[in-house]
């Protein structure tokens, strides 16, 4: 059951200040409306995982690890590998996060990232089956939120695709009923580089890459993911407000152009698509 959350509002002074700044097209941290915070992406930070990447968007910090195992494919997709995305809003990352099983926020986060990867066909799941209906690669993408200062969807999505691009696939051989690792590795078949861009609406203004303070002030957010060929492959409106159709079209234009910028920062994508 979903329940209206209790959110600590900003102080009156701060919220008044944010609104005033926005009226002149500026944000509290000095950015323009469509500017991202400083984006830093490091791939391969967890050497023992099959793939990994850490992303910082300003003070937001996300670590993604990819583990690859073998297991049965889903019965309705016997010719495909399995992709599983999970997110942990660690208590480390913000004092409102409590330890426990995934809540609606971490489930939504994981599913939004999952859809970006799946619907863009970034991961070639067809090539990850080993024996149809019996054995396939299972790719676990675990999103670990280390510090929460807003826009977890995008930070997680950038970390996830970077970790997949960074991942090595352990080659196995099948002997009778047994699966054995050969000790060799090959590239994980990543064919696309979907990039999500989240835009928050604060008092009529559309803000790219909102901070946590901006999210608290926002009536709603929209996350739009586009592919390298300019197709929209996933959208998620979230938060308890609404957008006019015009705002949505405008957000879509912004997302499309900002995605290009971000995609150039994804380690491993340049070489892969070239």
């Amino acid at each position: 059951m979903s329940i209206t959350p209790q959110t600590e509002p900003l102080t009156k002074i701060k919220s008044r200040q944010m609104i005033e700044f926005l009226k002149s097209g500026k944000r509290l941290d000095g950015r323009t409306l469509t500017q991202h915070r400083n984006v830093k992406i490091e791939a391969g930070v967890i050497g023992k995982a099959e793939g990994s990447a850490q992303v910082t968007l300003g003070n937001t910090r996300v670590l993604v690890g990819v583990k690859i195992e073998t297991g049965p494919p889903y019965s309705d997709t016997p010719n495909m590998g399995v992709l599983t995305v999970n997110a942990e809003l660690l208590p480390l990352a913000h004092e409102v996060f409590e330890p426990g099983p995934p809540d609606e926020n971490s489930i939504e986060l994981a599913r939004v990232v999952d859809r970006s990867i799946r619907e863009s066909k970034a991961l070639d799941l067809e090539s990850l089956v080993i024996i149809p209906a019996k054995l396939a690669y299972v790719v676990f993408v675990d999103i670990y939120i280390l510090n929460h200062d807003g826009n977890l969807f995008d930070a997680s999505e950038y970390a996830a695709i970077s970790a997949l691009l960074n991942a090595k696939l352990p080659v196995v051989k099948v002997e009778g009923e047994e699966v054995k690792p050969t000790g060799e590795f090959k590239e994980l078949p990543v064919r696309e580089c979907p990039i999500s861009v989240t835009i928050a609406k604060v008092d009529e203004a559309l803000l790219v890459d909102p901070t946590l303070e901006e999210e608290v002030m926002a009536s709603a957010k929209i996350t739009i993911t586009t592919t390298s060929t300019g197709k929209i492959c996933a959208i998620q409106k979230s938060g308890g407000g609404a957008f006019t159709p015009q705002e949505i079209l405008e957000a879509q234009r912004i997302a499309r152009s900002k995605a290009e910028e971000i995609r150039s920062l994804i380690p491993g994508w340049g070489g892969r698509c070239g």
Binding site: M1, I3, T4, A110, R111, S120, I222, G230, G241, Q252
Partner: protein, 247 residues
């Protein structure tokens, strides 16, 4: 994905509809005795029942908010609603949909009228054939109205998608699964605002703009049906009262 043809040579869909044609829709309100408001919808083969309870006091009290009512929402599928039996424990999909459906109603409910209170929306999918989150929102609007909860407007919802390269409204299960894109939209006519929007699959910029327009139009048709259903109910109630007075 699918190899099946989803649009035939006459431009008609698997169930004979035109691209912009809704499935047959049947709406009913006030059918559950205990709930403060209730509604039932059949949209194609999807069957959904919704109950609303509240506004009522929050228990335990410390969960209440001082300036407004909290909204609680559950979207849940019956174990027998799907081809394979679904475990009654909430799936990750149901948890996500409960959240975004709740968020779709936050902008229309005058929750500020009821501090320290809560309003419960329970959506049960009894038979699923695609489009259940949208049909659930459509029915939940009726149940909220039936409960007498003050609303800025009704919310009407409908998906638009792409099958065989063509944009179509109100996808059924086959079109959803085998089509190329699916975009559920919830629209608030009086505010000209969209309070739920999701998309998966792939759309170009042009397709997206057109899909948004089609969704709005489909929602407006559903909105008319919603208003008609409520009016009918009001007439029936009035007649029942008058009949009672005569007797």
């Amino acid at each position: 994905m699918g190899e099946r043809k989803l649009i035939d040579e006459n431009g008609l869909r698997v169930d004979g509809r035109r691209p912009d044609e809704l499935r047959p829709i049947k709406m009913e309100v006030g059918l559950l005795a205990n709930a403060d408001g209730s509604a039932y919808i059949e949209q194609g083969k999807s069957k959904i029942i919704v109950a609303v309870y509240g506004p009522k006091e929050v228990h335990p009290k410390h969960l209440g908010l001082t300036g407004r009512a909290i909204i609680r929402c559950r979207y849940h599928m019956a174990p027998f609603s799907t081809p394979e039996r679904k475990s009654p424990a909430p799936s990750r999909r149901e948890i996500e949909l409960s959240k975004i459906i709740r968020e779709a109603f936050e902008p229309v409910i005058f929750s500020e009228y009821y501090p320290r209170s809560m309003i419960d929306i329970f959506i049960e999918v009894l038979q699923s054939d695609g489009g259940t989150r949208c049909a659930g929102i459509t029915a939940a609007s009726l149940a909220l109205a039936d409960a007498g909860i003050p609303l800025r407007d009704l919310v009407a919802a409908c998906a638009v998608g792409k099958v065989d390269g063509q944009l179509v409204v109100d996808l059924n299960d086959v079109e959803d699964k085998e089509g190329e894109a699916d975009m559920p939209v919830a629209y608030i006519p009086a505010l000209n605002q969209i309070s739920l929007l999701q998309m998966d699959g792939q759309l170009t910029e042009e397709e997206f703009a057109k899909a948004l327009e089609m969704a709005k139009e489909a929602c407006m048709k559903i909105y008319q049906l919603q208003k008609q259903t409520l009016k009918q109910k009001y007439v029936e109630a009035k007649e029942a009262v008058e009949k009672g007075e005569e007797a």
